[in-house]
Symmetry: C2
Subunit: 353 residues, 2 copies
């Protein structure tokens, strides 16, 4: 049966000051009224029984997960003592699911992305679940690009796989491209956005893990042998594994990787300007909260608390929270992370992180 | 003896969101740790006994005056039921001083300007007090311009008056000039900034008032006849008088007007960008409060509460208070007043005014 592993370990510093220590991007209501995590779980709910869903997150973020998902049994929050990227997180989830059903099909979904069409998203997942049930394959969701995005990884499609148009072999995983490459990918029609969604039997994934990341696999088996929840077992696992992504560590090396060519609107919400792509604008301004914007074309203004009044600025990100205000041009929004690190450099400003 | 009339009736909307209803510019610690009003009173303290000082302000601002000046007897706050510009305010102060000393010399000083050299300022005032004691004249302080400012009124100097270099007749009062005129004034050496400081005997001022604003004079005498503090007397006075400035209503029309040519650093702090002229900059940024500004040349950033982090913006005003954030280019800071009016247009935003 299908089990869902929701990845909620991200930190999301690029959404400071809204994102803070203990309140990462997936715990923010960035787009709608729900947190991205809650929206993710709601989106997959028709495909997975709620008692077959686990969330992998940092130990210090467990409370935030439960606050976002009030119905989730606490033992379904699989906590990581330290972040080690996605491969160990998915391995942990796979081990959890395997204990409950040796033939479990895993739905691995990040919790901090935006999806614009839940039905189309679920339809693509259903194709993947069907394929994963029949084949010894690792299946990804690939989204048809709609712009020459340089911030995402891509999948290059190979030949069509047995089961009709949407299913393809993955010829290769491609790192974030430069701008000319991204244009080429967009025009060529053979590349899809890698949105970090994977569907596969736990058993098949663990076999790939054993082959391509044997040290992670061995550490996982040791943890499982000691007892999944045995004192110190989780710490020993995380102390033993490198920090490695599932893409780089497993998927790029495996041969039995398929993709479901999908075209639902999708965005990984990498930084503040991404809100322009997913929220409606009024007079050129994307505004949330109490915002008075006069002649501010191209700006993204978010008032979590209190009012923001802006006049005559262009292409600016302005974010106001209870105790901090950020002002940065959209084109430099990637540097917010560095700005936050500079804040952290002064003791008296740590409370703003 | 010298009496001081401190004018504290201004509203200062151009310093929103720091200035608010009941917390006008003179009640803000815009430059130092003290409010502008407290700094003004401290600056003139060596020239006037504290029991000979009154503050004219709006009725709803009396508490703010007393909060700024804890030593002031409450009966020295002369409240106006409505604002009617400076001529009625000075008339009220003159009537108050005349009751205590028919030969009182008035020191009329606005409370919301900045002075960069208190000793030089007091020296100029002392020259004016001396002249006012000897002559039946209205004496203004005129500041030698240091830039072609189009936001101030000017005094054109006439011949030197009896008493040596600093004292001149005033040939005429000049409204805010356009840029070419302002350059001419700066180069010509005959024009001074009108900084709204006046020194004269109460009696001499009231005689000029009788001549040039007879309806204000008559209403004042009626109020005084009923009893300065009699119930309804103040309201009747303010209901009877037009809104008119002392400059336009009295000074421009009077013939016995002198000026003390002065050269202390002075600024009327008309709007946020004025802080650049009176506060030190670091890496091109004038910052107060908890401010992290990276590559923000020419910006003025004021954090009353919480932190402001800005990156890569130029010539911007950013102000953060407990419940509001303002972002506006310096060159459009004059439009903050209009922005505040737009805020007031929405019921649920009135609380931010």
């Amino acid at each position: 049966v299908t089990h869902a592993i929701v990845l909620a370990g991200g930190r999301g510093e690029r959404f400071w000051p809204l994102s803070r220590a203990g309140r990462a991007k997936q715990f923010l209501p960035l787009v709608g009224e729900k947190t991205l995590l809650a929206a993710t779980v709601e989106r997959i709910a028709p495909l997975v029984a709620p008692w077959r869903l686990a969330v992998v997150t940092g130990r210090d973020q467990a409370d935030a997960v439960l606050a976002s998902l009030p119905g989730l049994p606490p033992e379904h929050v699989l906590t990581e003592p330290v972040g080690r990227n996605t491969a160990p997180a998915v391995a942990l989830g796979a081990a959890w699911a395997r204990r409950r059903d040796p033939e479990a099909v895993l739905l691995v979904v990040p919790s901090d992305a935006w999806v614009g069409d839940d039905a189309a998203y679920r339809a693509a997942l259903a194709v993947a679940v069907d394929a994963a049930t029949r084949e010894e394959a690792l299946i990804t969701l690939g989204v048809v690009p709609t712009r020459p995005e340089t911030g995402y990884g891509y999948l290059e499609m190979g030949e069509a796989a047995g089961d009709g148009p949407p299913l393809h072999r993955v010829a290769r995983f491609v790192e974030k491209p430069d701008a000319p490459k991204a244009l080429e990918y967009l025009a060529g029609g053979r590349h899809l956005w890698n949105c970090g969604i994977f569907v596969m039997r736990a058993r098949v994934f663990l076999a790939a893990l054993e082959r391509h990341l044997p040290e992670v696999f061995r550490a996982l088996e040791e943890m499982d042998a000691r007892g999944f929840e045995a004192p110190g077992a989780r710490e020993a696992f995380y102390a033993a594994v490198p920090s490695v992504s599932i893409d780089y560590g497993v998927m790029e090396k495996a041969e039995n990787v398929l993709t479901v060519r999908s075209s639902f609107p999708w965005d990984d919400l990498g930084s503040w300007p991404a809100l322009e792509r997913v929220l409606p604008a009024e007079e050129g301004v994307v505004a949330r909260g109490e915002v008075l914007a006069v002649e501010c074309p191209g700006s993204v203004i978010y008032a979590e608390e209190g009012v923001v009044a802006a006049l005559g600025v262009k292409d600016l990100v302005i974010v106001r929270t209870r105790d901090a205000t950020l002002v940065v041009p959209k084109e430099r929004a990637q540097e917010v992370r560095a700005l936050v690190q500079r804040l952290g450099g002064r003791d008296e400003w740590r409370r703003y992180l």
